[in-house]
């Protein structure tokens, strides 16, 4: 795995840990992100337990683990936070763990000793250092019932969890940003049709994100989108037919 600096302005940084974690191809590839400002940082979706060694190694090339004051778990999936008990062992003892109030009791199945701060449905703000305030933006039902994305108005970066995710062949992970949006669509399409089930939630999210000034959209899987590709994605996603799994329930038995 490698650590990519997506944004830097003074001490304000966005880091992405990406690439094959060496799981033998069994585990779906994930991106882990850190937003840092001053001596304070937030780790976004620390990842699955098998990714932990490679992710920690990549991250510590750029940031002191003591600077991680927050860990955000966007939702409850194992690729998001099954490594939580290991991260808690290496992070500072007072690290704040943030997850939707829906999932606090569920995360006890992963790490019973973890003290989790629930995020209310409407989201919240978290200040890093003196000047940076992150917005934890609700993205419920996309795909999880209790789900949050992170928007940084200074860096104009949106961490979008599973929205914008793409399941790519390994060789495509050599780059970090989408370079040809039309070519990228097939890698996202099946995922979004199947994983996203609520057109109402999608419409609300697209409306919300359209009001934000987003320069880079960084999903948990696959490549980030920047510039005009963010708008292209919103337009494409707004028209996509969702809930492809419903057909299986309508099938004759």
């Amino acid at each position: 795995m490698k650590c990519v600096t997506m944004f830097r302005q003074g001490s304000h940084r966005w880091l992405a840990v990406t690439g094959d974690p060496g799981s033998g191809g069994k585990a779906v590839d994930t991106n882990q992100f850190v937003v840092a400002a001053g001596n304070s940082g937030m780790l976004l979706d620390p990842g699955g337990i098998e990714v932990f060694p490679a992710a920690l190694s990549a991250l510590t090339q750029e940031i002191d683990i003591d600077d991680i004051h927050y860990i955000l778990l966007s939702h409850q999936d194992p690729d998001v936070g099954s490594a939580l008990p290991l991260w808690r062992r290496v992070c500072r003892p007072d690290v704040t763990l943030l997850v939707s109030s829906l999932w606090t009791g569920f995360y006890a199945h992963v790490d019973a000793a973890a003290e989790i701060t629930p995020i209310p449905d409407e989201g919240t703000r978290v200040k890093l250092g003196e000047d940076v305030t992150l917005q934890l933006v609700p993205a419920h039902y996309l795909h999880s019932a209790g789900n949050f994305h992170v928007y940084d108005p200074e860096a104009r970066i949106l961490f979008s969890g599973d929205v914008g995710a793409a399941l790519l062949p390994k060789q495509a992970l050599d780059t970090f940003y989408v370079t040809d949006f039309a070519h990228h669509i097939p890698y996202m399409e099946g995922f979004h049709r199947r994983w996203m089930g609520s057109p109402a939630a999608r419409d609300a999210w697209v409306s919300l994100v359209s009001r934000l000034d987003v320069k880079v959209m960084a999903p948990q899987h696959g490549l980030a989108m920047r510039g005009d590709d963010v708008k292209r994605f919103l337009d494409w996603f707004a028209k996509l037919e969702l809930g492809s799994g419903v057909a299986a329930m309508r099938a004759e038995r």
Binding site: Q61, D64, V90
Partner: protein, 254 residues
């Protein structure tokens, strides 16, 4: 030797430790397999104890009908019921032990797997060129020491549980031996029981059959317990020698 060469060697050792850790996980899995065999054998005790209890009640009724000639048989059947109670007690104790063993095994496997990943992280950080890794390395070291301690205590407890299983097996073996003697004595009493001879003989034969079933159960449980003891002692030895679950010190040497 350059820094990079040392790092590569250290990462390789960390990976070897990870493989070694997988083998220890396999040993723990095999140990659990033995414990499951013991519990499976013990699970058949309840039905057998109930059969033995009903047999003793019927034998007592037969002894009552036989009057003076049934006096000894009556005493023997009362003793049989004591043995049945002992079997029931063993069963209850084993059920508690089973729950603790499953819980502890799950905890050991989870802790062990996490420890192996901590070791792998140590290897990855050592091999990497991270300049910000001091805090992480220190915390990994602390985590490794703490987890090794937890694992050591868990393995000691596991061995303790296996010893308790062994004690239960011995308790049932005593019941088998005593029941066998009772069956023999009832058969002897049957010889002089006149009209009641056939009835007492049937009781003795049935009891012998139950004793044989008990013996089979105990042989299965005994073999599984012996195997579990061997594996537990081997894990304890690895643990006490500091190689459990991975040679942390070995990673740092190079």
């Amino acid at each position: 030797m350059g820094k990079g060469e040392v790092a590569v060697g250290q990462e390789s050792r960390a990976n070897e430790n990870f493989d070694g850790a997988s083998r220890i996980e396999a040993r723990i899995g095999a140990l659990l397999g033995d414990c499951i065999q013991v519990f499976r054998a013990f699970s058949e005790l309840a039905e057998l104890a109930e059969n033995l209890r009903i047999l003793s009640l019927n034998a007592e009724l037969a002894a009552g009908r036989a009057g003076d000639k049934g006096r000894a048989v009556r005493a023997l059947t009362q003793y049989t019921r004591e043995l049945v109670n002992r079997l029931a007690q063993v069963q209850t104790e084993t059920a508690g032990l089973m729950s603790h063993t499953y819980g502890l095994t799950a905890a050991i496997l989870r802790e062990h797997h996490q420890h192996a990943l901590i070791e792998r992280a140590v290897g990855a950080i050592t091999a990497g060129s991270g300049t910000m890794a001091d805090s992480a390395s220190r915390r990994l070291e602390e985590a490794s020491v703490a987890m090794t301690g937890t694992l050591a205590r868990s393995v000691e407890r596991m061995v303790e549980y296996i010893e308790r299983m062994s004690a239960r097996t011995r308790a049932v073996a005593e019941v088998v031996s005593a029941s066998d003697s009772i069956a023999t004595n009832i058969a002897i009493e049957a010889v002089g029981a006149g009209l009641h001879e056939a009835e007492f003989r049937t009781v003795a034969d049935t009891m012998r059959r139950y004793v044989e079933e008990l013996r089979t159960i105990m042989e299965q449980a005994g073999a599984a317990v012996r195997s579990a003891v061997d594996k537990g002692v081997a894990l304890q030895r690895i643990n006490r020698s500091g190689r459990m679950p991975a040679a942390r010190q070995g990673v740092l040497e190079a």
